[in-house]
């Protein structure tokens, strides 16, 4: 236990040092308040869901994903160690396919939601990122627990009831790759085929 505690202290120090270095690099022009970022992103998405449907909505959601989320980093994390074995071309195709798939998933997911609000809770620094707790209040039933991971001025992960989007994709992709000869190509093709559907 003491070993673990001291390791945590070291980690916090490193994280603190990293933040000291990182903060000036971000610059004052960009909204660097994570809670503000989450709140405005949620507001933007609610606005899109209210006013747009179908392909328009998917395009608008893709815009939000690309401007508010760090999609390349998320896709890379989702691919895990397989990122290193992928060719440059596969990586590019993968990034594009994942962005399209997520945009599609999100526009359909919110299509079934309606009249919901987001309440921002506690903001805590963790492992060099900032965690923004929030509750998605539903019209019926208990609120859903949402946790946002923010690095710099971008969202890098969303946890729904403790289930991380990136972690789940990572297991999902990794398992698919392993059952298809350890190659990234079949996964990319599958994602592209799904995006085209």
């Amino acid at each position: 236990m003491p070993n673990l505690a001291s390791r945590r202290v070291v980690f916090q120090l490193v994280a603190a040092a990293a933040m000291v270095v990182a903060v000036p690099a971000v610059g004052p022009a960009i909204a660097s308040d994570p809670a503000q970022l989450v709140q405005s992103t949620a507001q933007q998405v609610i606005e899109i869901v209210k006013t747009k449907t179908g392909a328009d909505r998917q395009a608008a959601i893709l815009g939000v994903l690309q401007s508010r989320f760090d999609m390349p980093a998320m896709a890379r994390a989702a691919l895990g160690t397989h990122w290193n074995t992928a060719t440059e071309q596969e990586r590019a195709r993968f990034l594009k396919a994942v962005a399209t798939a997520e945009a599609k998933a999100y526009s359909e997911r919110f299509g079934q939601y309606g009249g919901q609000t987001l309440t921002i809770g506690k903001v805590t620094p963790r492992n060099g990122a900032t965690i923004v707790d929030s509750r998605l209040n539903q019209t019926s039933g208990p609120p859903i627990k949402l946790e946002w991971e923010v690095r710099g001025d971008r969202i890098t992960d969303v946890k729904v009831e403790g289930v991380s989007m990136v972690m789940t994709r990572r297991s999902d992709f990794n398992s698919y790759i392993q059952s298809h000869g350890g190659k990234v190509e079949p996964l990319v093709s599958e994602l592209e085929a799904r995006a085209a559907r």
Partner: protein, 267 residues
Amino acid sequence: MIGVTRAFAASIRRSIVAVALAGTVVGGCASGDTGAAEVWDPLETPNRFIFSINRAVDLIALRPLAVMYRDLVPERAQTGVRNVLDNLGEPVTAINEVFQGDPNRAATTMARFLVNSTIGVAGIFDVASSFGLERTKEDFGKTIGLWAGVEPENGGFYLMLPAYGPSNARDGTGLMMDYLVDPFRILTFNLAIDWDVWQIGRYGMNAVDYRSRTIFALDDLEKNSVDYYAALRSAYTQNRADQIREKREKTNARSELERRDNLALVR
């Protein structure tokens, strides 16, 4: 007389199995501490086989039933059913809260149970909540996870249970323990009043009710994954870990003080 003795013997035999399994869990946790990386799934092949059977049963029986239940039964009736089922589960929650070292919370749960069973007409109405007695739901898997001293993502080997769905060594053992200590099971069993009818009715209703509330999330996960089995395995493990972590943070004295500090700041 003979029947009672035999039942008692069977009950003891089951307890021994459970204790033995609990032993393997604790042992398993100590050796395979993989943290958050990938879920430990040495039984993947049989698990996938059971998963495919579960999915077939779900597709032709459980899901359609759950959809009908969700869409056709009036919402107030659904709430009533859920309240009755939740109320029957309160004693098990209270027992777990004792094992979790929180007798005060256990007392609140028992107070809820007494209030709802009487004033709430056999649990149909959750009047206790309007008295300020909030509902908690605990199970033995969480109790083991609380004390296990490993990352809560590590619940021993992953296990796909027939009919029940995703679980692992920790939660599977927990499920068995909850079943063994459940006063309602013991009561109906010992009184031998149509034991199986009551139990099957209760577990069946529980299954339909629970499935009706997970339709959206599971459909979403299935649609947006390339390997549904792996995605569900990851999502289940993370969700359970989150519940246990929340539990640990609540019982951790330091975080409790921090929580109070935050509250004081708000005031």
